[in-house]
């Protein structure tokens, strides 16, 4: 059966057709020397040239700040007002296989004990079209955590770049097939030759890492790993899998809103108790938490790591902490200290 091909010069027609059918388009757009996943209205506004976007796909389902309820206060009585959750029909175009793969771990935690409607309504309203990676950089390590530059997991459709330009369009789910129908006019049939994809070396074995982590909470390895870490939230906030949040009420005497805002376990006050006690009082303890959570606790509970090797944390860290290097030290060099 011939492939469905989307040519580059048909990309705008593809998008406009879908916009006409009520889709909002989210795709990589240029901002200074990087790209971000954000709303675009045409192919001209898109920039697909970077290895990956600075921010991750999680912004579409778990934004950095979000109202979760409103309240009014009248003579001592508090009235709660639920939020109308905005979940417009969205096409996410140009996500990477790592971002698509990250959704499994996010779906698991947001649906764990209570279905988080703020997350799932947006999730259900989104169709994800992923583009396989022709290039990777030194920060990428998807291959070490079960992913690959052509991984299809989590995508509704996978685009494979062709040597002549354009992409082979593979619909993988009902949503992907619906896109094919809705955008039939912009597609053609043919045989395309796939362009060579990026090669990402495998740097460690997840099982070896996990088995060491299982017994090493008190190990001296964690001491002195993080002298450089300044405890900001850059890594957690660009990570597609980090999902901790803080609830904040904003308002006055008469009413206000409760918001859910991103939080990071690297912040010094993340686990500070009202008593003054902090069970993670040092950056070493907080780095250990980060590694344990992503590569052990998450696997224990949800049977997948909460890291897809996208490398964003490595690219943005102002002091080059590099979690991949910590894991390599554990797995490959048998936990040598820096």
């Amino acid at each position: 059966m011939p492939d469905k091909i989307l040519k580059k010069d048909k990309l705008d027609a593809f998008l406009q057709g879908l916009i006409g059918r009520g889709y909002r388009i989210v795709a990589p757009r240029r901002v200074k020397e990087f790209t971000v996943l954000g709303e675009v209205a045409s192919a001209a506004e898109m920039d697909l040239t970077e290895v990956n976007t600075r921010n991750s796909i999680k912004d579409a389902f778990f934004p950095r700040t979000e109202e979760v309820l409103r309240y009014d206060v009248e003579q001592g009585t508090v009235t709660l007002r639920p939020i109308e959750i905005a979940a417009p029909k969205t096409l996410i175009f140009g996500a990477r296989p790592c971002d698509a793969a990250s959704l499994a771990a996010m779906d698991a935690v947001f649906g764990w004990d209570d279905r988080d409607e703020f997350y799932f309504r947006k999730r259900d309203a989104a169709t994800i079209v992923t583009i396989a990676c022709e290039k990777a950089d030194d920060a990428c390590f998807c291959a070490s955590v079960g992913g690959s530059p052509s991984g299809a997991q989590g995508s509704d459709a996978l685009l494979t770049p062709l040597t002549g330009g354009g992409w082979k369009f593979e619909a993988l789910t009902d949503k992907g097939r619906r896109l094919l129908d809705e955008a039939a006019g912009a597609m053609e049939e043919g045989e395309g030759k796939a362009a060579p994809l990026a090669e990402v070396p495998k740097r460690f074995d997840l099982d070896v890492v996990k088995s060491w982590l299982d017994g090493s909470f008190e190990n001296d390895f964690w001491k002195g790993q993080t002298l450089a870490c300044v405890g900001c939230g850059a890594c957690a906030f660009v990570c597609p899998n980090c999902h901790c949040f803080d609830l904040q009420d904003e308002g006055g005497y008469r009413g206000g809103a409760r918001r859910r805002n991103w939080d990071s376990c690297s912040f010094a006050l993340f686990t500070a108790h009202a008593s003054g006690h902090n069970p993670r009082p040092t950056q070493d303890a907080r780095w250990r938490q980060r590694v344990m959570h992503k590569f052990k606790y998450y696997r224990d509970r949800f049977h997948c790591a909460s890291c897809v090797g996208c490398g964003r944390c490595i690219r943005v860290c102002p002091v080059d902490m590099n979690i991949c290097r910590t894991i390599e030290r554990i797995a490959v060099h048998n936990h040598e200290k820096p």
Binding site: T65, D137, V230, C232, G233, A234, Q248, D320
Partner: protein, 280 residues
Amino acid sequence: MIEQLRSKAKELLETKAVAVVIGYGEGSVPGATRPVFIVRPEDVGKLIWNARCANNLTRYLTRKEVLRLGKPAVVVKGCDAKAAVALAQESQVPRENVILLGVVCPGLERPAGDQCRQCEVNTPPGCDFVFGEKIENQPDPAQAFLDVAEIEKLAPEERRRFWAEEFERCIRCYACRNVCPLCYCERCVADMNQPQWIETSAHERGNFAWNIVRALHLAGRCIGCGACERACPMGIPLMRLNRKLAKVVLEKFGYRSGSDPKARPAMASFKPEDPNDIFR
């Protein structure tokens, strides 16, 4: 030059003059550099110096995990050395508690905005030792704040729009704060919630509040190392904001942070002849 730096570091560690040498080392990906903490004399070979050594390592002089190791020596460029001056003036790091290993810097490969072009401290002043062939540079004061002038010539509504567009990307990761050597408060005003002085939400109001308050808290204190702008994962031109306030302090009080260890910081002292027209 690097051999001299390494040999001095080794000597300081061997004689136990210091417990740790904070310097630059090879980063984890080709071309990157990272802060390194050398505690054993045999490890001084890890110290490097090149035009990508951008971090301001004086940040670590107030990190308790580092202080616990003992007396530090720290590798500083001219801009970084100014932070050491400010930290001493603010009684955070007495000068005698640190050894400053100055490195002559011709300018970073990737400066934050204009900073390196206008540098007058290529040869770091006030250090215990200086490594590298001295560079004398006298920048033209008329060129000093061109990046700030670009925004000053905008009408107020245009300025607001400029910053609203930049702050729209702020995710409140506080990388700017956490890499800043002068943001050493153990409990930042943004982390206080009784009351919540600064809204933590990353919406326009919260982001304006955070970024402007941080700039105000650094007025007359920021030494212009650019660490904040380089650390920002979302490309916000923070130095323009900080340098605007540095320009105001220079014009109104004749004060430049970090240049004179004996001076009293403008924002922490009062003279009867201080101008009153900054209050409007």
